[in-house]
């Protein structure tokens, strides 16, 4: 299966702009399905972007974040061609990781 993470990191001047789209149901645990039964909570708890061995962006998420979340941020530094590592862990212990080259 294809990765659940799409990333684009572009360097402009001294900062690297990062955009990411993650495929995840992000069920809050408060929503009922068509039969009236609660859809159990299933959401990303932590999302990390690492560059050069250091975390440049860490998000502690909960059930309030939308399905298939989109993130955009920028950080100082970064070099063209370097790797940016992205990973998430959800409340069921599932995880996914990907790396993207800074463009």
């Amino acid at each position: 299966m294809a990765s659940t993470i799409r990333v684009r990191a572009t360097l402009s001047g001294e900062t690297t702009e990062v955009q990411a789209l993650i495929q995840h149901p992000m069920d809050s645990g408060f929503v009922k399905d068509a039969k009236g039964e609660i859809i159990p909570p299933h959401f990303i708890q932590q999302l990390t972007f690492e560059y050069d061995g250091k975390s440049v962006f860490v998000a502690d998420w909960g059930g309030g974040v939308s399905k298939d979340p989109y993130v955009k941020f920028s950080f100082k530094g970064g070099k063209k061609g370097d790797d940016l590592k992205i990973s998430w862990v959800d409340n069921k212990g599932a995880t996914d990781t990907t790396t993207a080259k800074i463009q």
């Binding site: 294809a2 799409r6 684009r8 955009q19 990411a20 789209l21 495929q23 939308s66 399905k67 298939d68 989109y70």
Partner: protein, 286 residues
Amino acid sequence: MRSAIHLASAALALAALSFSAVPTAVAADTPDPVADAKAFQKFFTEKFPKLKLEDFVNGPYSMNEDLHRQWEEKEQFPPYEFSVDMGKEMFSKPFKNGKSYADCFPNQGIGIRQNYPYFDNKEGKVITLELALNRCREANGEPAFSYVKDEMAALTAYMAFTSRGKPFDIKIPDDPRALEAYQNGKRYFYTRRGQLNFSCATCHVQSPGERIRAEVLAPALGILNAMPIYRSEWSGMGTISRRFTTCNSQIRGVPLNPQDDEYRDLEYYLSYVSNGLPISGPGARP
């Protein structure tokens, strides 16, 4: 004396009125899809003189500058991307009998979205892409998909994606049944229904660009070119069937079943009047 002149001029005006009314009445009786489509497109281009014809396929984004800016940013990471990938995967995976979707369609199903729906002379009915996909599955011993979302949306998203930029090319063959289907779709489009007493045209012809609560209404011209769509409101993908049924329930009417005759005829009519406008699907809508 004076009143007599008034009366005479009134009679003259009346005569002139009834004279000019005669040819239009005749024209209304004989359906003329070519003239319809021309008038339809002219109405929208005159209502929105700044827009180019192909801009209409972007729905509310061409009606509102703020939305347009947000959309441009969104398109860098379009929310329908996962669905297109899923559709591509499904398309390349053969059925249990070894055949695949490609075997059911001309040109292996690539770049053909603009030709759907079409009128099938043998059956005497309008065949939409969604219907053709499920028929393809059933002919190969696979269960049909739900018409409204998920797999069906993924398949149509992929097929639309491979057809992007190709102008809608809907044909009405020389068959009275085809013309009747077109007329039936047109009738459905302009008929008021539901507790709110809205027709499709009330929102999408009379008021595109206006707000309906927080949403900006899309113009009917080019509205199907962007299908299927990822709607933030649905937090997921939806097909043309989903759009039609939800539109009907939003005006507090009772929706028909997806792919009922009326809906397929409606799709036939709406696609026909958007002939020449490029396919832009899959789309993203608020």
